[in-house]
Symmetry: C2
Subunit: 268 residues, 2 copies
């Protein structure tokens, strides 16, 4: 049985050189379709275009207009095919309006040297059973964010005070993550995981939707099966914007993705 | 008298909808032309294309092939013109080969709200007179990196042990920065500053050129006149690649740019 993720990101050749997608309403959050899901759809389209380079290494997305559930078209253009990496430009459009523009360099993560000299530390999150499940969110929240039904999220209790009106003020949210249907996340799926949690501004006492201007994800390794740990931080809220840094660690203790996005502050 | 930076990034309309640049040999480092300089040239081309949105907010560059000094052509394509931000796609090419592909969102930094709620701390660098000037670099280094003549760099002594064969191993380099001719850096110039220092892998005892795959810069404010402080760090060297995070702080103590690049490890 295919995973929900595979079904929701399925693509069909439309005959005019484009790939057709059907954006599922289950990924709506606030006023539009989740940006990580959009990036996953584009990321899969790129992977299908260059089968010899199956994995995203770096993907940058610029968000131009809010997407809606329903049909979408992905166009891709080969910029450079190299021996170890290939770079592609891609756009996802609906009804003639571009939703996101993307640059992406793909390669084969399995072919990389296996040296690791990281000084980064995995997020210290209490055991699963001590964390706060996303399913405890109020009915009202779940109604405007059907996105949440896609995941099994277990929030670090120290970073979830915002849910009861007591944000920590540190600009930090972290959680255990897996897909609701229990299927494991592949490298393209990591593009989505980096934009799956609530905006880190929740933890600064600024609730509300935070539109992404730009999101770049570096995929550093194929995730091992099992639960992922996801951490979001911001350090510079200024000029109506903030950066959100995300790390994704796998069950083997490997840093598998690093991302940064520039987003607009939610309106008070 | 125009600044060296203005001269080296000057553009001329070529009549076929492109902008022509002349890449100056003074920006060569290792086997090619510095990637930050290339991004500055493209960044200026974008600014000239959309004069109502003079400042880069977010710029992502994918490096496809090594550039050489001499003529180059910049093409731009408008993706979306909005009320407060405009997004453009751009490419810089030489002899028909694309050197870098860029996505960029521009706006007016002066029109942003002036709230700042940063938890980031400016780099703690000793006073200028206690730092190590880049001009002390060996003749050999300066010959393969004429790039260094463009800047007045004063390295934090705690981060420059690599210059005498004693890297700290922390993956951290920081320095005071200004242009050699004393001219101040503008927001487009910040795109270059984020790729001006030696690769942070020097501080890990891995000398050599580190080719950039991808570089994204977020410009967060117009820099105040005077010396800048630039900090580079890496936390995850793995699979033959590393991320390099850069911050640029201005003389008024404001975080004016944040960037991250994904680069290939130098060969031993």
């Amino acid at each position: 049985m295919p995973s929900e993720w595979d079904s929701h990101t399925a693509l069909t050749a439309t005959g005019d050189g484009l790939l057709g997608a059907e954006l599922d309403p289950g990924w709506v959050v606030g006023g539009g379709v989740n940006g990580g899901y959009l990036l996953g759809v584009v990321g899969r389209a790129v992977a299908e275009t260059i089968p010899a380079k199956p994995h995203p290494l770096s993907v940058s997305a610029y968000y131009l207009s809010a997407a809606r559930p329903g049909p979408a078209q992905v166009s891709t253009r080969l910029l450079r095919e190299g021996g170890s990496v290939t770079t592609v430009s891609a756009e996802l459009a609906q009804e003639g309006a571009t939703r996101i523009a993307v640059l992406a360099t793909y390669g084969d993560l399995g072919a990389l040297p296996d040296d690791v000299a990281t000084t980064a530390e995995p997020p210290a999150i209490p055991p699963l059973e001590e964390c706060v499940p996303g399913s405890l969110a109020p009915e009202e929240t779940r109604r405007v964010a059907p996105l949440m039904e896609r995941f099994d999220l277990r929030f670090d209790p120290a970073c979830v005070g915002w849910a009861v009106g007591e944000p920590s003020g540190r600009g930090h949210i972290q959680a255990w993550f897996r897909m609701a249907d229990g299927h494991d996340v592949d490298p393209v799926g990591l593009l989505m995981v980096c934009d799956a949690l609530p905006p880190v501004t929740f933890d600064l006492g600024r609730p509300g939707w935070a539109p992404t201007l730009e999101l770049t994800v570096h995929v550093r390794a194929v995730p091992a099966p099992g639960w992922l740990r996801v951490s979001h931080r911001t350090r510079n809220v200024a000029g109506g914007m903030f950066e959100e840094d995300c790390e994704v660690w796998d069950s083997a203790g490997r840093l598998v993705a690093q991302s940064r996005q520039l987003a607009m502050q939610p309106r008070a």
